[in-house]
Symmetry: C2
Subunit: 436 residues, 2 copies
């Protein structure tokens, strides 16, 4: 909104702009940011941004120098070639693909062909590239496990691709509902092209799939000829010792397009993500290409390159930690684990059995969902921020199922451990007052 | 293309991917890159990349430190706030909008409201944001002065927005043809939403509009209720002393959306561009927003933020030169001017009057167009690269008019002055052999 006198006519009309601009999801995000902005002193159990206390600008310089020495000392580039790598337009698919492939091997046990990787401007661009590629006409739809990350919903709107939701159920994915949804869409003459999900510590539900469900999902994808779009920004932040393999690590039939993010594990300000797309694409006259090469063509029309300078920063961090972000994030992993344990302990203390308040118990990540016996809507959030000094996210922003009206997403990523304790106490006061 | 055994079936079919992937423009770019890659020793009068001999990685570190001190010493941010500016997700419209606005005031005499700016991942993202916003349904079309920059063609394909071309004529824009094209489209029930052009040193034609044409174009835009999309990556590279004002500097009625690029004047590897969109958008219930805010909503679904680290590099360069890229690029401007003069002198020497070879004489920038009395097609380019050691760009890649078949685009941006001289000599040998 800009300050304009009533006599100034608008030159454009919203009704004559792309339909994504009228999407309620945009208003949701605006509202949530606006509330957070109006109550800067409220503790945020809402924000999903990574922890800030470890930030250090000198690291950026060190990472850039590490990548430079990698180019010259390890790869044998001349100084002029190294300068060009930093300064000039680069390869459309990215200049750090070998390092990303090594990272996937080290941390995830995924054997990725570096040529099947496209380095993107955050995972958001990767989602848009994939959805845009899969959209040929009005018959195409994408499926998404609900509640759904708003970034997927936004990218799909922008690609004119309708989203059909699949129930997550208590375990992260209702496989029967997925099969029914696929068949129903086909019966309507539609083409369900892919199903989007987070298998690990999902945003916003906090849920993870167990190993049996992962295998069953891959079988269903094969049977129903469906791609799976696996988004995995939180997989490293496991609270327990063991991490189940990603869908991509289990994928023997190129059914999984893997969407990677370095926003939480690398450096958010670099905005580097990637997509691993090793599917084969048949063209006319029998030519076969990698899906990654088709995505790169779309990228060439969208952003041309992911900034080489930003890629260099991430490359330096990967190099400094022998390709392992699990190693690079030891402090962060411990912090998030501690915060999640404190949040769970605080909830258990505040809401004993019979209180009517319950929540899920994620095995890691940033998020969990609390269910309360009253409406947890935008109005209550406003009251919570103003009178109780605590922010959270009403689940109806991610999900239009009836239960969402009574659910809150809580996040533990931005607060110090002490702030988590205090945040739960404030939330408990709000809930107690509503239950009275 | 990947190496696959014939028995491996493709899992996806190109025919079931987005139509932009079947666009001949993509094959063009692939072909041109591929020829350049096969003949690395050929002198490139084809590449439009900026000159590389001045690149210096230490500058990147210096620019980052300059922006950091700007945040803390000049804007009074705390060290923690400065760290967050570098590290964390930032404002969707960008974090260097004040500096970009100052740059526009200093170098272009454009008084920009910083809130009307969106900092983008190169100018390419800016083009896509605008075209996507302007596309509501099949009736929308965009006009573009032909021959047209391939990036615009690509972004339009990706936004499902057909392009109707307008003749440039000998002076850069045929205003009568523009008026006829607008009316013709309307008569067909279409909505021509905007006309895209480079007013200064256009890619690929090299042409610039004179001042009278600029004024007449703005009047036509007002009369026909048309937006102008002014793309200006080369405006600073004027060979003469005077630069005419940009369309945006002359725009008193918010008719011009200004597409800015720092790829040639800042640092290509930062991939930072911007769009100045001060148009007013009327929503339902009388709300009025800036077009920039609508573009930012699309950006939030596409790339979320332009990498703050990359913005910081450009910010540091702007700060180091008091907001002036004209000042920052003194060496580059002199180099391109010298190269263009050498190219023109070399052509005049090689092809005297009556030779049947002619060319235009741009007032600056990277490009000019040579017309020859034989077909200058991809086959000839291949021969030129292999047997004569010189690369250029067949104009048919930018334009399907009949004359394009006999035209070559030459660029002077990547070569040293001595290489320009040698490049013209090699081109002259090719042309002489064809004329024999």
């Amino acid at each position: 909104m800009t300050d304009t006198t009533p006599s100034t006519p608008g030159q454009l009309e919203l009704a004559h702009l792309h339909s994504s601009l009228a999407d309620p999801a945009l208003e949701s995000m605006n509202f949530l940011n606006e509330v957070a902005g109006r109550y800067p002193d409220a503790l945020s159990l809402a924000a999903g941004r990574p922890y800030e206390e470890f930030f250090d600008i000198e690291e950026v310089h060190r990472y850039l120098r590490r990548f430079e020495s990698h180019l010259t000392d390890e790869l044998g580039l001349s100084p002029a070639q190294a300068r060009r790598a930093f300064y000039q337009y680069g390869r459309t698919k990215g200049i750090i693909h070998d390092l990303v492939a090594r990272n996937l091997a080290v941390d995830e046990g995924i054997e990725a062909d570096p040529e099947a990787l496209v380095v993107t401007v955050g995972c958001q661009e990767a989602m848009f590239l994939v959805l845009r590629a899969l959209r040929t006409d009005d018959r195409d739809v994408v499926l998404a496990v609900a509640p759904t990350y708003v970034g997927l919903t936004g990218a799909a709107r922008l690609a004119d691709l309708p989203v059909r939701t699949v129930r997550s159920g208590p375990d992260g994915l209702d496989l029967d509902d997925l099969a029914v949804t696929v068949r129903q869409a086909r019966a309507e003459g539609l083409r369900p092209r892919a199903c989007y999900l987070l298998a690990d510590h999902s945003n916003p539900s906090g849920l993870s799939l167990d190993l049996a469900t992962r295998h069953a999902l891959l079988e269903l994808a094969e049977r129903e000829d469906l791609l799976l779009l696996e988004d995995n920004p939180y997989g490293l932040f496991s609270a327990g010792a063991d991490r189940p393999p990603t869908l991509k690590a289990l994928d023997t039939r190129r059914r999984v397009v893997y969407l990677g993010s370095y926003a939480k594990t690398g450096l958010p300000g670099a905005r580097v993500g990637f997509v691993l797309a090793d599917q084969l694409v048949s063209g006319p006259s029998g030519a076969v290409s990698l899906f990654a090469d088709e995505l790169a063509k779309i990228k060439s029309m969208l952003t041309v390159n992911t900034p080489p300078i930003a890629q260099a920063v991430i490359a330096g961090k990967l190099l400094e930690h022998d390709g392992s972000l699990l190693k690079a994030n030891e402090r962060e992993i411990a912090l998030y684990r501690d915060n999640l344990a404190r949040l769970l302990a605080g909830l258990a203390e505040a809401f004993p059995a019979g209180s009517g308040v319950h929540w899920n118990t994620p095995s890691g990540g940033f998020f969990l969902v609390v269910t309360v016996p009253f409406r947890a809507d935008d109005e209550l959030l406003e009251l919570s921020a103003r009178d109780y000094g605590v922010l959270w996210t009403p689940m109806h922003h991610f999900h239009d199922a009836p239960e969402a009206a009574h659910q809150l997403r809580l996040s533990v990523s931005l607060l110090t451990p002490e702030q988590v304790d205090e945040g739960v106490r404030r939330l408990a006061r709000l809930v107690d007052d509503r239950l009275r």
